[in-house]
């Protein structure tokens, strides 16, 4: 009995102490917009976060950016449910899966919290608007560059993103429909490496074994492209590797000649536009357009010629918005 009381008192003291610290550190209340992305270990979404936060600063509102610890749409629903409990003013959601997120959006609808859909289209629920980059367009840019560079003739392999992910499906659609227009281009294989660097390295190794003649590797994202180029380097083969996302590591690889190019998927602008439109809706009652297409930062593939210039322009943009890049 005595021990129990002792322990309970200790617990109480601890709780009060923590509370004191917390209350002292509490922020003033503001308009609060939550941006939920897919995965914050991906530089693309980190830039989207910066874009969202920049828009937030411009309007003077509070923006928090969240991502699930596990790459599963169910975890995003859980985050949305918890945001509803926190009574946020609006949620900007980048669904890991457009259909799977619907129940989360509907819960927010029931709680009368406006939802803005970003980057990946959701298939249900009420949203105040959609903004995104056209993934199909990204695929087309990549495919067209491949056709032009190979002058309509050559062997290519494609590394796709996570099976079933809408971005992967759409990018694949853009690439394949463009490649089909050049009958001299042969797609030797098209397989998934799950948007993962290590997986891509392994798959590329085996593709190198299967096919002695490959001219170009088209990857649905940069992480896979970076894994593939390592395998190619180690295998002492020569071929062009193209990715999508234009993360800094890729730009370095392009300048070193280890990769041929990448496509900018413009995460920053997407985040910015989404939060900007949402803020205007909350503060000024301006209803966002149903669809806003954010353009690629560069309508062509970024290659050695323009990589430096692209990198500089991006750095300037970040500086303008006061973002500290480490």
């Amino acid at each position: 009995m005595k021990r129990f009381v002792r322990f309970a008192c200790l617990a109480l003291v601890g709780v009060v102490a923590l509370a004191g610290v917390a209350l002292a550190a509490k922020d003033p209340k503001d308009v609060h917009v939550a941006l939920v992305v897919k995965d914050l270990t991906n530089r693309f979404f980190v830039e989207m976060k910066w874009g969202g936060e920049s828009a937030g600063r411009q309007h003077g509102i509070r923006v928090t950016v969240l991502a699930p610890e596990k790459y599963a749409v169910d975890n995003q629903i859980r985050i949305m449910e918890d945001l509803i409990q926190q009574k946020v003013d609006a949620i900007v959601i980048v669904p890991i899966d457009g259909a799977g997120i619907v129940s989360g959006i509907e819960r927010a609808n029931k709680a009368r919290i406006p939802v803005f859909n970003l980057n990946t289209l959701s298939t249900g629920g009420e949203v105040i608007g959609f903004a995104g980059i056209d993934h199909v367009q990204l695929g087309r840019i990549q495919g067209q560059w491949a056709v032009d560079t190979l002058k309509g003739k050559g062997n290519v392999v494609i590394l796709e993103g996570t099976t079933g992910a809408s971005s992967a499906i759409e990018r694949q659609q853009g690439v394949t429909e463009t490649l089909k227009k050049a009958p001299g281009i042969k797609v030797l294989a098209s397989t998934t490496a799950k948007y993962n660097r290590q997986q891509a390295m392994k798959v590329m190794e085996d593709l190198l074994t299967r096919f002695p003649e490959i001219d170009m590797v088209l990857c649905a994202n940069d992480a896979m492209a970076l894994g593939a180029k390592e395998a190619i380097k180690d295998g002492r083969r020569k071929m062009m590797v193209v990715g999508i996302d234009a993360i800094p590591e890729t730009l370095e690889a392009i300048q070193k000649g280890e990769m041929a190019g990448t496509v900018d998927s413009n995460g920053f602008d997407q985040g910015f536009v989404a939060v900007d439109l949402t803020a205007k809706y909350l503060l000024k009652d301006q209803k966002p357009p149903k669809d806003t297409l954010v353009g690629s930062g560069m309508a062509t593939v970024i290659t050695k010629e323009n990589a430096l210039a692209f990198d500089k322009s991006k750095a300037e943009k970040f500086k303008k918005f006061g973002i500290k890049v480490d």
Binding site: M1, V15, V73, D74, E81, D97, A99, V102, G164
Partner: protein, 332 residues
Amino acid sequence: MPRLAARVASVVSGPIIICLGMIGVFSLLSENFFSLSNAVNIIRQASVLALVAFGQTFVILLAGIDLSVGAVMGLTSCVTATLMLKAHLAPVLAAAIGVGVAALCGLVNGLVHSFLGLNPFVPTFGMWGMALGAALIITEERVLTGFPATLRVLHDGEFLGLPAPLLLVAAVLLVLHTFLKATPHGIATYAIGGNEGAAHLSGIRVRLHKTLIYAFSGFMAGLAGVLFLARSNAAQAIDTIGYEFDSIAAVVVGGTSLMGGKGGVAQTLVGVTLIATLRNGLNMVGVNLYLQLVFIGVVLILAYVTENQSVFHFLRELKRRLFGAPTSAEEA
């Protein structure tokens, strides 16, 4: 007065204290945490894990383990979704078949373990791979959507003002708790876990019993899979991977011993509540996503230590190691 307090102290285990402590801290740090709607929110989020963990409880009471439940859950949700989409079966029928498949997986686990004598890690781990593979093959690695929304009422619905998952979990809990504590078969489960040889000698048909318990664990995983489908309105093979470890953690943290023979579903409920409250609280307070993982790990260790060792034993042990003083009998 002391006797009442002693009884309270024996029921209020370490994990319960930690749970209450967490609720206190989170309530102070987040203005919306301590509300009815958030409590309902947590219950909904915990319901899937609760169902799986109840099944796992039975297996662990036998001193066994079921590593396949995460994949089996996924298989059930994928089978149910596929049957609704491709075979146009009625949702309830599709769900029943899905749960049946899960029970079958559990049965296979049980048979291989009980009658072939393999350590339960092995068949359940192999089943994990095969169930995951089967689910991936059925769905062709895609996400299945567009099926009738009938089942969603299991998760979103409300009866008599209470959320459906709460009623479901409460009903299941009541049935299972009664079964374990008050029926001969339930008590036999504890006996087998405590000492399998002795249980056998006392006439219990150990192998049959164990097989049925593993089948039951599969059945519960199937139910959890259906509830998961109701919650996310989409079926993807890999979505439920991870639940096997979470369910084991919930069971062990709640107070059921991995050696078997001790614990129960009521304790597991505490474990589930602890994990769900922790996750929700960390979100509500806005803790950095990556730091959340660190917190969860620390709390799990803390919860276990305060339950099975009881804080006092642990502190006594610590004192002994730091100061080398022998423990005296009166400390007990």
